[in-house]
């Protein structure tokens, strides 16, 4: 088995389930503490974005999350029914002073994702948005006891 799929209603309480799953997965794969926290945060941000901006908080619409281990990469795909591609800041540092005039200072999530992961890809198709991010395992220090699989093959989660 090389992938795990989770489907949650569009409510923030269920985002915690996905985040906890990411923690279990990272520990199983032997991520070190810092990279585990990176994975948890990036997953949290992508799922939060899907809940709020994709599915507009409509609890009856599901957010799909798929963790896929392939070759030397852990991919996380987050799917919502918004059909709108998020606008990536492409590394532009947020100006925190700009937030001071804002009653609801948000908009940091995609910036954080870009800082934490090794790559991002988006596509919109048939009313769905797929947001995929990945961690290159060769750049991810092991901190635990997970077995290292051979390069170029699918590995087991």
């Amino acid at each position: 088995m090389n992938d795990v799929e989770i489907s949650i209603p569009s409510d923030h309480v269920f985002e915690r389930i996905v985040r906890d799953s990411a923690l279990v997965l990272a520990r199983h794969m032997g991520f070190d503490e810092d990279r585990t926290a990176d994975l948890q945060l990036a997953v949290s941000e992508a799922v939060t974005n899907a809940i709020e901006h994709g599915n507009k908080g409509r609890i009856e619409i599901k957010v799909g999350v798929r963790f896929l281990l392939q070759n030397d990469r852990l991919s996380i795909r987050v799917i919502d029914r918004g059909g709108v591609l998020p606008h990536l800041p492409h590394g532009a540092q947020p100006h925190i002073e700009d937030k001071f005039a804002d009653d609801t200072p948000r908009g940091l999530g995609l910036f954080l994702i870009e800082q934490l992961v090794d790559g991002v890809e988006m596509r919109s198709n048939d009313g769905c948005t797929e947001f995929t991010m990945w961690f290159d395992l060769k750049q991810t220090p092991a901190g635990g006891d997970a077995p290292a699989g051979p390069a170029g093959q699918e590995e087991s989660l």
Binding site: E15, L41, I96, F100, P105, G109
Partner: protein, 107 residues
């Protein structure tokens, strides 16, 4: 209850009791804006996770402190949370310190 407010002389300590500073706990953390004193320190000692919704709640405290001309500090921040705060330039407005340093500065 996500926060506990303590007064140590002229210093206010806002102890964050939840392990997740996120969309679910944001409202209670934002409520600390009504408790700001001249010097207020947020204690992150029990916090295991912070995301951008949580950072947004913290930003509201930063904004309120600036409006009121008060100083805000962060205590017991993990290495990863420090990394994230640095990414969004938060520490410029909520510097890291220790309780000992704050108490020493008050004497």
């Amino acid at each position: 209850m996500s926060i506990l407010i303590e007064q140590l002389g002229s210093l206010t300590i806002v102890r964050i009791l939840t392990d997740s500073v996120d969309a679910l706990s944001a409202k209670e953390i934002e409520a600390a804006a009504g408790q700001l004193r001249d010097r207020t320190a947020l204690d992150f000692g029990k916090v295991l996770f912070i995301n951008s919704a949580g950072i947004s709640a913290l930003l509201k405290l930063v904004i309120e402190a600036r409006k009121q001309g008060k100083k805000l500090y962060a205590l017991n921040v993990t290495a990863h949370h420090r990394k994230v705060f640095e990414m969004v330039d938060m520490l410029r407005y909520m510097p890291l310190t220790t309780l000992e340093d704050l108490q020493a500065a008050a004497t």
